[in-house]
Subunit: 194 residues, 2 copies
């Protein structure tokens, strides 16, 4: 069968889902597609480009899907994309690590961050602070999701120190962190603008 950019991406996600990011090598991907390693480089310049395309696919569509832009309801809207962002990251194993690697290159880019900035600006925060706030939120979500998935990976390999240890509910932990941050943001809006 002939290779396409899409079939390569599909094969890459199959390996990611079944074995994780650590097993996603160009050679392994090639052999799973019945092709020589060099063949992949016709469709993707290098591994980094392939991973970036995967990260894009994970994150694409989040913004428009979850943003019901009702003015005056910034908190609901912001909590919405943040939750959707988290869910998208958790959909594939090591999704957070994958997306984070791309975000390191072009920081504030990516649909989620851009949409967050818009919401925060429209709520009444000045652009500079809005960008900083969105960045902080993105870091929180990525870090949180990466931690959850690292835990998943350890359990998968059976390398957990104590599998019966009382682990706190990640969903609960996430909501608490998010609530604290939104409270801080809300306070800036309630205060008289200088």
């Amino acid at each position: 069968m002939r290779l396409t950019r899409e079939s390569v991406l599909k094969g890459a996600f199959a390996i990611l889902d079944d074995y994780g990011l650590g097993d996603l090598t160009m050679r392994r991907l090639a052999s799973s597609l019945g092709v020589q390693p060099g063949g992949l480089y016709w469709h993707f310049a290098n591994k980094q480009t392939l991973l970036a395309a995967m990260a894009d696919e994970i994150v694409t569509g989040i913004a428009t899907d979850s943003l019901q832009d009702e003015p005056g309801r910034w908190r609901t809207n912001l909590a919405g994309i943040t939750e959707t962002f988290r869910t998208a990251l958790l959909r594939h194993p090591d999704g957070a690590e994958l997306v984070a690697a791309g975000y390191a290159l072009r920081p504030g880019s990516g649909q989620p961050a851009q949409t967050m900035i818009k919401i925060i600006e429209r709520a009444g925060i000045d652009p500079v602070d809005a960008q900083a706030a969105a960045g902080a939120l993105v870091h929180f979500v990525l870090g949180h999701a990466a931690e959850v998935q690292a835990h998943d990976r350890l359990r998968r390999v059976g390398g957990l120190p104590d599998p019966t240890a009382p682990a706190p509910d990640p969903e609960q932990v996430f909501r608490t962190g998010l609530a604290i941050f939104l409270d801080g943001l809300q306070q800036r809006l309630d205060l008289p603008q200088r």
Copy 2:
């Protein structure tokens, strides 16, 4: 010269500081120490263990140094370790990535997180929320520092899209994110406890 655990660590930091985490390989470390690659494995079980030891060294001493535990001044204390944590990460190239890799394994561990939890608890937040809050703060700092250092690395290699682009001051961005988070935490304390 005879190898010791300390001399291996020292050599590893030398490569990290001069060339970055990407160039820190066991083989390169060995040759810089005038030794065969296999020789390193007498002192460290594997590369992961070596990196964990480096992460520990970066983070160790933060807590006690910066925590002047003045009760009733939780905000100052918390801002203090957070800033110190950030500075420690930025001291070595890719320090954030290095420490984050270790944190993924044992989430809430590490001196900074533990000290943050203590401060937040003493301020009057219940233990479950305190742990979530500290986790969120750690994720924020790690993500922020990783972003700054990824930018540094790109500039070093000369791979920045536009070196004259107006980059926002990282210190300013950091302080804004931190302030928002601390405001949110403060509000939980001001509110009547349920």
